[in-house]
Structures are given as C-alpha cells and as structure tokens.
C-alpha cells in the first residue's frame, strides 16, 4: 500500500528527515514513537504534501502511484487522510458544511455522485455515534473555539466520514481525557479493516493498549532507529528512548 524509500526532507534549509524507510501493507497498523522533535509530524506532513517541507531525496509509492508527485488534494482524494496534531480553525464555516464539501470532493474525484445535505445528515448521524457525539457540534464553525480534546475527536469524526485507505494519526491521543481516549480508540478500531491501513504517531503506550499495532517503529533524529512488534512499545515505556538511542550509537 505504502512504500517509503530513503525519504529525506527539510524545512527552512534544515534537514529533518534523513532517510526514512517504511513499508505499510493493507490492513496493517504501524505505530511511530520517538522523542520530541525527532521528525514524526514532519513525516506525517510530508506524506500529506505540506508545502513548508521540501523533499530532497527518496521516493514514496502509494497504491502504485508516485505520492510525492501529487497535489495534497489529490492525495486526499486517493484516500490519504491525516489527523492533524494541531487541527486548524476555520471561522464562519460550519463543521457540517465543511465535511459535506470534503466528502463530495472526494466522491467527485472517484466519479461518484455528490450527496445532498439531507442524505448527508443521515450519514453524519451514523458517524457521530461512532465517536459518541451529539449533532450540535456540526453547526459550530470548524474547530473554532473547540477544546483540545474536541478538536482531536473532530479529526476522528472526519476520518470516519471520509473513509480513507491510509489514515495517519498524529498524536490524536494527546489532550484526550480517559473517556475520550477510549471512545476515540474504539472508533478507530471499528474503522480498522483489511484494506485500510493506519500510521499512528504517539508518545504513549496507553493508546496502543487500545489500538494494538502490528509494528512499532522508533524515530530518532529523522531516522527509524528501531522496529519491532507491539512489545517494543512496552519496552520503550519501561526503559525510555535513551535505551534505543544508546543501542543505535553502539551499532
């Protein structure tokens, strides 16, 4: 599904990603952990096509396409979804209007008919249940004045509506209270399927108790320094990043 080879990227002339290799197969869940500033969000943003980052080397293939050659909206239309670490506010635009516009753009790109607002409301009602939310939230402006936790939950609601093939969650668990974490994780689990893959960026093993990953990777200074199964996350929790970084230095 996704094949990242020796990916290098920089921002403001500084290299942040220094040769990332990662292969994600359909249905897999990959967790990415690593210290602050190691490049996790940068990787997520580069995959989504953020213009602030310059790709300086390597390649990314997504479903047989050259992902790096696509506009951000083309990536979205092809099924790449990024749940932002810091979701953006769009004042004056209702959540429902925005989400329907996005939904229809993606449908259009796939040659499907647009849905009208009545049909969309039905769909929305169903998806709202998935994240245990009331429909009032849909008439508010996108993320405007939302609490940190509400913004994160809104990202997962969008994920549920847009049904991507590759979902990248950038610290969706940060800022969620215990109940919200359980709800969001349960939502994600319901969305897991054979042909939908996830890249989950997190600092906490706690999330991975709910969303059990197939693979865990440790990112440090722009490189994946260690990969393993779900036990790696437990080990990290117990021993800290210094342990991997020290092992890396010795290798």
């Amino acid at each position: 599904m996704l094949n990242i080879k020796d990916l290098r990227a920089s921002a403001g002339g500084v290299e942040i990603l220094k040769g990332i290799n990662l292969a994600v197969r359909p249905g897999e869940v990959h967790a990415i952990m690593g210290p602050n500033g190691s490049g996790k969000s940068t990787l997520a943003q580069v995959l989504a096509g953020h213009p602030a980052y310059e790709v300086t080397g390597g390649s990314v293939t997504y479903l047989e396409q050259d992902l790096l050659d696509m506009e951000p909206e083309e990536r979205a239309q092809a099924g790449v979804f990024l749940a932002f670490q810091y979701p953006v506010e769009i004042p004056g635009v209702s959540n429902a209007y925005f989400l329907r516009a996005a939904y229809n753009e993606i449908r259009k790109a796939r040659g499907m008919e647009e849905v009208d607002s009545m049909d969309f409301i039905d769909l929305l009602e169903e998806k709202l249940k998935l994240v245990e939310w009331e429909s009032e939230i849909m008439s508010r402006a996108v993320n405007a004045g939302f609490s940190g936790g509400e913004k994160k939950r809104n990202e997962i609601l969008q994920l549920a509506v847009l049904e991507p093939k590759l979902a990248i969650l950038d610290e969706t668990d940060s800022g969620l209270d215990i109940d919200a974490l359980r709800i969001v994780a349960a939502g994600v689990n319901k969305l897991r399927s054979q042909d939908r893959s996830f890249i989950v960026v997190t600092h906490y093993q706690r999330l991975l108790n709910y969303i059990v990953p197939d693979h865990v990777h440790v990112l440090s200074s722009g490189r994946i320094v260690r990969s393993g199964g779900k036990e790696l996350a437990l080990e990290l929790e117990a021993r800290g990043y210094e342990w991997v970084e020290a092992a890396e230095a010795m290798a």
Partner: protein, 479 residues
C-alpha cells in the same frame, strides 16, 4: 509545488460583452447646455432644471477629491465624457412587451430575465441600461398596495410632488464633488415609495448596466418609506470590458419615517479592469439614508467585488429617537483594484444605535481601505455604536488599511471599535486541501466563512450569488 500564495492568472470577466444597439446620445462634454439637453430629453419641469443648473454651477467650483481618500487615479477628463445615452428603440416608460428584444437578451445573458414569467419569484426588477430605465416588472401588482416602483424619470412625470419633496433632502446637491456632478447630469435611476403601514410584499431590485463607451453612468435612486412601512431593496451592476476607465457616479437617498425599515443591499460587480490595471469602472458613489422618524431603521449591506476603484460610504443619519443604523460590508480587491469604503453613522436622536461590520479582503496587488466615521452629537443621549472591522490578506503584495474616526460629544454614549487583520493561513489552506478541496475552493470556503456575518444579512438568492461572486473574483489569487 509552490508555497507562495500569489499567482498571475486572472479570471475572465463574464459580463464583459457589448450590446450592439443604436443610441440617442448627447455630444461629448459638460456645460449648462448639456444639462439643459438632458433635462429637455426627459421633459422635466422647470424646477428640476433649475435644481440641476444650480448643482452644475456649484460643481464647477469644486475639485475632484485626490488628497484624503487612499486611492490613486488619473484625473477624469469630464469634457471627454458623454452624459446621456439612451437605446434608441427604448420607449421611455413602455411596458416590457415594447422593449427591444436585443435589450431583453442582454439582461437574459446577465442572468436577469425581465419577462415576468421567468423572473425570480418575489423580486421586482427595474433595469437601467446606460442612462435610462428599460423596464420595470411587477409594477401593477405593487400599485395595488399603493407602492410606487418605477424609473426616476417616470416618477418625475407621474409623482412630481413626492420627488420634489424628497430629492436632495438627504444628499444635498452641494454635498460633494461627485454628488454635485450627479445632481447636474443624472439621467435615470429608481424611485420607490412605500405608503404608511405597508410592508412591501417582494424584494425590489434595480439592475444597472453600462454599455456605451465613454459614457458615464449617473443614476439616482430615491426610496421613501412612510411611517411603519417596510421595504427590502437590492441593487446589482455590471459593465462591458473596455480599455478606458468609465465613470459611475451615483447617488442614493433613503428616507425612513417613524417606525419604518429600509434594507438596502448591493452586489457590485462592475468591470474591474484587466490584469495590467487598464480599464475598469470608477465607482464613485454617494449613498446616504436618513432615519427621520423615531424607531426607524436603515440597514445597508454591500458586497463590493468589482470596479477598478470603489469610493463609497453608505451612511445613516440617525435623527429620530431610538432609530437604528446598520452597515454590513464585504469589499474584495484583487489584481490592481482599489477600494476606499466604509460608512458614516451620525447620531442625532436619543438612544440611537448603530452597528458596523466591515470585512475587507485584499488579494493580488489590491489596496483596501476602511474609512468610517461615528459621530455622536450632544443631544444624542444614550447613543451606542459597535464597530467591527476585519481585514484579510491573500498574498504579500496587497494592502489593508483602516481609518476610523470617532467623535463623541456627550458622556452617556458608548462607542466600541474592534479591528483585526489576518493573513489567510497556509495552514488553513493546507488543512482543507488535505480534506480533498482544491486551492480555489479552499480559499473560497475560508473567505466565505470570514464574510459570514455580512452574507447572513443578504436576502437568500443574493447571498448565494454573492458567495459565487466572491469565489470568482478571488480565482487565481493564490497559486
């Protein structure tokens, strides 16, 4: 992919065609004789000719404003303009069946069908082509309730007493350079009269079209709402693409008597000039309303997307106690457009209230200035004003400027002013693109959200139109 929010492409102006029709024209230039010529063509009474001549003599002594507004333009050569042009076949006040099919076709093309079967339900239209009204719809139906909705020229013939009573009562002929010019040479416009206690059952609308080259358009609109009356009025405008600048100097006067409400909405989409800044309309307009009676209300809503230069300050004189004035504005400049617009709220009566919401959007090399005056006179005890003035910048070469003037002359009044300037965020655009929207749709969504407080003031059909227009006028503003 570029990260810059600038681009050179400019959207083609959709309404830039010219209608090939024979016109009855005044010779070029301006003099007392031309004023007489116009007055004679319109079979005007003596008092009106005198009023025009007086205005003309005042105008000759005035100078074109170049110092205080934050706009730059070549002085207009007033002797090289034509002050009267009427489609030859158009009978002055004929019914729509007598209108030249070419003209009907023009309006059809503009999306303003004038045949009553096709027209938007619930909207009556007066169509002004160059200097004259070519037809007014639903006139008879409105007349049943005593509502007068007709061209200005017709009103002068049929209701001279009303015209004489109110003409110049809000915007005197000597008010300013362009108002004086208009008073001298105005050709046509709309006249609306709503009798006491009548709520106008449909939206009234005037559609202005400049066609002939080197012709100025000087229309005059007068709306009078008697005690307890209620009316909502819409104005729309377009012009062909031409290389030279064309002058549009209109005057609008509103009079609201006790307990009356006038809601005046404009969607202005005059030709803005080409990508090099050549051509386009100089939109120099004086609009003012008087809340003459207690508890009356005047509300201006404008969406200004066109014109090379926009210079207008729809204002309200709050004379009656407890009267309310509102100004909701969206002004968009792209390419080389310049706008210096805002409002004046003059509080004279007790407990008068005014609200100003201005949204300025600048893209390309556009320059957008908000200029607003809130004046509270000593007798206006308990007056209140709230002003919110937001600017949005798209790209690095445009500008937004704010010039608020506040003059409060009593201690029981309150004036509140909030202002903000934001650059359209690359992160906002990226967020929407990540959800599948292309750049233009993303910008249009962000900008429409920014303007929401103003759009919600527009009548439904117009709000939809305004949203589309905004999308079109910003197309190509970001790459």
């Amino acid at each position: 992919m570029s990260s810059s929010v600038e681009s050179l492409v400019n959207k083609e102006y959709k309404y830039g065609f010219v209608t090939d029709i024979e016109s009855d024209m005044a010779p070029k230039g301006l003099s007392e004789d031309i004023v007489r010529f116009i007055s004679a063509r319109k079979h005007e009474p003596e008092w009106l000719l005198d009023w025009r001549l007086k205005a003309y003599r005042g105008w000759v002594k005035m100078t074109e404003p170049h110092e205080w507004p934050n706009i730059r333009y070549q002085p207009v050569d007033y002797q090289n303009l034509r002050y009267y042009s009427a489609p030859k076949t158009g009978k002055p006040f004929g019914s729509l069946d007598e209108v030249d099919p070419k003209l009907l076709e023009t309006y059809e093309k503009l999306g303003i069908p004038l045949s009553e079967q096709k027209i938007l339900a619930g909207v009556a239209v007066d169509a002004i082509f160059d200097s004259v009204s070519v037809g007014t719809t639903y006139k008879a139906k409105l007349a049943e309730q005593g509502i007068i909705f007709c061209s200005f020229g017709e009103a002068v013939q049929e209701h001279p007493e009303l015209v004489r009573k109110y003409l110049g009562s809000v915007v005197p002929a000597s008010d300013n350079f362009f108002a004086a010019l208009n008073a001298a040479v105005f050709s046509d416009g709309s006249f609306v009269y709503i009798p006491k206690g009548v709520r106008c059952p449909m939206e009234l609308s005037t559609y202005f079209r400049i066609n002939t080259a080197e012709t100025g358009q000087f229309e005059r609109t007068l709306i009078v709402a008697e005690a307890g009356a209620h009316v909502s009025y819409l104005e729309g405008c377009t012009a062909p693409k031409r290389d030279e600048n064309q002058l549009h100097a209109a005057v609008v006067e509103l009079v609201a008597l006790e307990g009356a409400t006038i809601k005046y909405s404009t969607v202005q989409n005059w030709y803005a000039g080409d990508e090099k800044g050549r051509g386009g309309i100089y939109n120099f307009v004086t609009k003012r309303g008087k809340c003459a009676g207690a508890n009356s209300k005047i509300s201006w809503t404008q969406v200004e997307t066109g014109s090379a230069i926009t210079w207008k300050y729809p204002s309200v004189i709050l004379q009656g106690d407890n009267s309310v004035g509102e100004f909701y504005s969206v002004a968009v400049v792209n390419g080389h457009q310049q706008a210096d617009t805002g409002t004046k709220m003059i509080h004279l009566g007790k407990n008068t209230r005014s609200t100003i919401v201005s949204k300025g959007i600048s893209a390309g090399q556009g320059q957008n200035s908000y200029r607003g005056l809130v004046k509270v006179l000593p007798k206006a005890a308990g007056a209140r004003n709230y002003t919110q003035c937001d600017s949005m910048l798209i790209g690095n070469r445009c500008g937004a400027h704010t010039f608020p003037y506040i003059d409060v002359q009593n201690s029981s009044s309150s004036v509140e002013h909030e202002a903000s300037t934001a650059k359209i965020g690359e992160d906002q655009i990226f967020y929407l693109k990540q959800r599948g929207l292309n750049t233009e749709n993303a910008i249009s969504m962000i900008v429409n959200g920014f303007c929401k407080e103003v759009f919600k003031e527009l009548p439904m059909e117009f709000a939809v139109e305004a949203q589309k227009l905004l999308g079109i006028s910003l197309e190509g503003s970001v790459g």
